[in-house]
Symmetry: C2
C-alpha cells in the first residue's frame, strides 16, 4: 500500500491532481446537457477501459484509462463504470467485485469507501449492481457514448452491462456535447497540463545536452523517458517517441516498431525529437530540433529560422475567434516566404500556396488539440467547420475550428526534405516552377526541422507553456552549458 | 532509415540476432510434424500480431509481436503472415501492401526484397496474395494454430485470410507440437536469452546501488528501464516492473496500475524488485531482494537465508529427468525447515507440507518456463503431467513437467508475510499448530523476500544465467561499492 492511497499523486515533487477537477467536468457536462432537450430522468453512463493482454498471454500492456471516462470521473482503475444523474448531479462509480484472494496478488483491496474517498464520487457500488442501483435511483434514460474519433476513424466504446435492456438508451445526445466540452480546458485541467508540459520541457532540455554524435537515437529516447518518470513521476509517454537523426528527421512517424530509433547519430546531423510525457492521462507533445554537434550549419540555420518564424507568426496571431485553418495558412506562407528568401524557391508565395507547394515541405497540419488524448477529441464535430480541402496540406489538419479561450493546442510547423515528395514536386510543372532545383537538391538527406510547442489560448492571444531553448542562440548556449536556471 | 535495416540488431554494443535462429526453428517444426501423421501437401500458416490502439484513438501501444509467429519467422513488423511448406521446407512471408504515401510518414518502405534480405525467408509476397501464392505452390491443407494458453486461459489467434475457404484447414495438429518445441531452446536461442539476462542482471546491479531510503519505488523502476534500454537496446520489459518496498514487498503483483510503485522507500525496508528486460521478444525475469539501507537486519537475514537455501537446493538438484513438481516440493521443504530453525515454526516439516503450510509463505509456484513469453508456453500440454492438486500451492505451478536439457526456467522461491494468509493460517488449527504465533506476529508488515534466477537445464544439472550478488555478503559488499568487475 502506498502513502498515496487516497490521492491522484506520485509523491513529493510531483503534482497532486485534485478530484475536484473531475467534479467540475461533471458539473459542466450536466449544465450543458440540461441546456439541451434531454429526456427526463436521464443519467449519463460511461464505461472505462480494460487492460489489454499481449496476444493470448497473461501479461498485459500497461493500462491506459479510456479518456472520456477519465475526463468525467478521474478513476485510474480498469473495468469500472461511472454514472451521472443530470437532475440531481449525483455521481456513481461502479467498480469490479474482486475476490478476497486478489489481496494476495494485488495488495489490500480498496473497499467501496476507499474508492469514495480517493475519487470523491457520491456513491460507489460494484459493477454487478449497476442495473439495480440505477433502477432504484429512478433512472429512466441512459445517455451512452457513441461517436467517431475523427483522428482514428474508430468508434467510441458504448457502455454496456447486464440488465441495460430494462432501460431506455439514448446514444446520440452525449457524444457531441462531451467531446465539445473536452476541447475547452478548465483552470484545474490547465494546471495539470502545465505540469506535464514542464516535466516534458525539462526532459527535452536534459536530452539536448546529452545527445551528440556517437550516441544512438534510442539512448536519447531512454534519457527522456527516465527523466519524465524518475523526476516527474510520469510512467507513460503520450505517444511513441520520435527520435530522428539526419535523414530520419524527415520521417514524420519515425520511431515506430519498423524503425525503432536505432540509428547512430553522426556529426553534422540535425536531430528532431518529438516526445511528450503523460501524467494521470494528461498529455504533453513537444518537438525540439537542433544540431547534434551543438552548432548550427548555415543550412540548418536557414531552415530552422524559417520554421521558427512560421511558429512565431502563429504564436503572435493566434487568439479567440481566429480560424485554425487561417493559422495553418499563415504558417505555410511564412515558411514559403522564408524558403524563397533563402534562395530555395522563386515566384509569388500566394501562388505557391494555391498550387499546394506548402504540403511538399510540411505535409502535416499546423497542430492539434491536446488534452487527455495527444490528438484530443472534438476537432470536427457536426456544427464545426468541416475538414478543409484547400490549400493542399490543410486536409491533414485535425481541426478546422475557431479558437476559443482555454483551448490547448500544439503549434508545430515543420520543414522536411522528403524524397518522394520532392520528386513528385519536381515532376509537376505547377510546383516545379517555384523550385530552384539545384538548391533543393543540396538539401536531400538533410532530414527536417519541426518546432512544436504546447499552448493555451488566452483572453487575447496565446500562452506558450513549453519551456525549451528556441532561438538558435538559446539552443547553442544551452547545449554548450550556459543558461542553467533560465528555464 | 537505420544502418540496422537488414539486421535484428539495435546497433554496436547490442546483440545481433541471426535469422538462422528462426530458420532452425522452422526446420525443427517441419521435422517434428513430418514425424507425425500429417496430411500430404500440408503447409503451416501463422498470423502475426497487430498494433493495438489506446481505446478509440489513433495512438498505439508499443507493438509486441505474437510469440508463435516470432518463434517461427523472426519478423518484427505487424500485420504479417508466415507459411512453411512441410514437404519442401520452403518458407513464405506475407507482408501488408502499404500505399506509397506511407513512405512520407513511416520512412522508405521495405520492398519485398528488403524483407527477404532482412529475415532470410525464401519467398516474400503481399498479404493480399496469400491464397494465390499458396494455391500455386500446391498447398492443400493449412495447419493453423488453435490452442489454449494455460497461464491466461486465452485462445491463440488462428490465422485467417480472404480465400482460406478454398483450402482444407486443420487446426488440431500444429499447436501441441509447436508449443512443445518452444519449451526446449536451441543454442541460438540460448545466446539471445543469455544476452537479455545479462543486460537485466547489470540493470539490477545498477538499481541495487541507487535504491535507498528517500528514493521512490518508481525511481528504481525508471533506473532499471533506462539501463536496459540505453545500454542494452531493450526497448521493452517483459512485464510490468514490480518494485515493492517494505510491506509492498509482500504484494506479489505490486506495480500494477492500482499500486504503481509510488511509495517512498524507508530506512529499514526490505526491497523486492522483480524486473526483466526484453530483447527482440526474448524475456528475462529476475528478482533481487535486499535491504534498502544496504545492511541486513537479523530478521531480514533470517528470511533471506531461508529463501536462498531454498533457491540453491533447486539449483543443485535440478537436472534432466527431474519432475518440476518435485523441485517445488523440495523448495517448500527447505524453506519450512529454515523457518523452523529460525524459530518461526514448530513440528514436523513433512507434516507442515502435507497440511499446506508452504503456500501460506509462498503462495506461488517455484518458477516457470521462460522464452519469448515471460510465462512461456507448453507448461501443460496434453501428454504432460497435469496441474497438481497437492500439496497446497503446487496448483499454482505453471508447469509440472519433467525437466529436459535446454529448457529455460525461473527458479524463484519466496517467503512473504501476507496478512490475509497469516490470518487464515492462524485461524486454521491444522496450520496454526505449526506456527509460533508471537514470532510470526513480529514479521507482520515485513514484506517478503524472493530470489529469482533465470536458468537453463544442462546435460547434468542447472546453469544459472543470472549475474547478480546473491549471498548476504555479496549484496552488502556490492551496495557498499565493492566488487566492481566481479559480475
Amino acid at each position: 500500500m502506498s502513502q498515496n492511497r487516497y490521492k491522484l499523486w506520485m509523491g513529493p515533487g510531483t503534482y497532486c491532481v485534485p478530484p475536484e477537477l473531475f467534479a467540475l467536468n461533471r458539473s459542466r457536462l450536466a449544465e450543458r446537457l440540461n441546456s439541451k432537450e434531454i429526456p427526463k430522468k436521464s443519467v449519463v453512463l460511461l464505461q472505462g477501459g480494460n487492460e489489454i493482454p499481449f496476444n493470448d498471454t497473461d501479461t498485459n500492456y500497461l493500462f491506459r484509462q479510456e479518456s472520456y471516462f477519465m475526463w468525467t470521473f478521474g478513476v485510474l482503475e480498469e473495468k469500472c463504470f461511472g454514472a451521472l444523474d443530470l437532475d440531481t448531479r449525483k455521481s456513481f462509480l461502479f467498480v469490479p467485485r474482486l475476490p478476497e484472494s486478489y489481496a494476495v496478488w494485488m495488495g489490500p483491496l480498496y473497499t467501496l469507501d476507499d474508492f469514495k474517498m480517493k475519487y470523491k464520487i457520491d456513491s460507489v457500488h460494484y459493477t454487478d449492481e449497476i442495473a439495480e442501483v440505477l433502477k432504484n435511483h429512478g433512472a429512466s434514460v441512459l445517455l451512452t457514448l457513441k461517436g467517431i474519433n475523427s483522428d482514428s476513424g474508430s468508434e467510441s466504446k458504448e457502455a454496456s452491462f447486464t440488465g441495460i435492456e430494462s432501460f431506455q438508451v439514448n446514444n446520440a445526445l452525449l457524444f457531441p456535447e462531451i467531446a465539445d466540452l473536452r476541447t475547452v480546458k478548465t483552470d484545474l485541467e490547465l494546471d495539470v497540463i502545465r505540469y506535464v508540459v514542464e516535466v516534458s520541457s525539462a526532459a527535452h532540455r536534459k536530452v539536448m545536452r546529452m545527445a551528440r554524435p556517437g550516441k544512438t537515437e534510442y539512448q536519447c529516447e531512454s534519457e527522456f523517458l527516465h527523466y519524465c518518470y524518475s523526476v516527474g513521476g510520469c510512467r507513460y509517454v503520450s505517444y511513441t517517441c520520435i527520435c530522428g537523426s539526419g535523414p530520419n528527421a524527415a520521417i514524420l512517424h519515425y520511431g515506430h516498431p519498423g524503425a525503432p530509433n536505432d540509428r547512430f547519430i553522426q556529426d553534422g546531423d540535425t536531430l528532431l525529437f518529438d516526445m511528450g510525457a503523460n501524467y494521470m492521462g494528461f498529455a504533453a507533445d513537444i518537438t525540439c530540433s537542433f544540431p547534434a554537434n551543438g552548432t548550427f550549419t548555415s543550412m540548418q540555420r536557414l531552415i530552422y529560422e524559417a520554421v521558427l518564424k512560421s511558429n512565431l507568426a502563429v504564436m503572435t496571431n493566434g487568439k479567440p475567434g481566429v480560424l485554425w485553418t487561417d493559422m495553418h495558412l499563415l504558417a505555410n506562407k511564412v515558411l514559403l516566404q522564408e524558403l524563397k528568401n533563402g534562395g530555395l524557391l522563386t515566384g509569388n508565395v500566394d501562388e505557391m500556396v494555391k498550387a499546394g507547394l506548402a504540403a511538399i515541405f510540411q505535409p502535416h497540419g499546423l497542430g492539434h488539440l491536446l488534452g487527455l488524448d495527444v490528438h484530443d477529441v472534438g476537432g470536427y464535430l457536426d456544427n464545426n467547420p468541416p475538414r478543409p480541402k484547400e490549400p493542399r496540406g490543410a486536409e491533414k489538419l485535425r481541426t478546422a475550428r475557431v479558437l476559443q479561450k482555454n483551448m490547448v493546442l500544439t503549434i508545430e510547423p515543420g520543414c522536411y526534405f522528403i524524397d518522394p515528395l520532392l520528386d513528385s514536386a519536381l515532376a509537376d510543372p505547377k510546383l516545379a516552377q517555384f523550385i530552384i532545383k539545384e538548391e533543393i537538391e543540396r538539401f536531400r538527406g538533410f532530414g527536417g526541422i519541426r518546432i512544436e510547442d504546447d499552448v493555451v489560448v488566452t483572453e487575447n492571444g496565446i500562452e506558450n507553456l513549453t519551456k525549451v531553448p528556441r532561438t538558435i542562440q538559446e539552443i547553442e548556449d544551452w547545449i554548450s552549458g550556459k543558461d542553467d536556471g533560465k528555464y
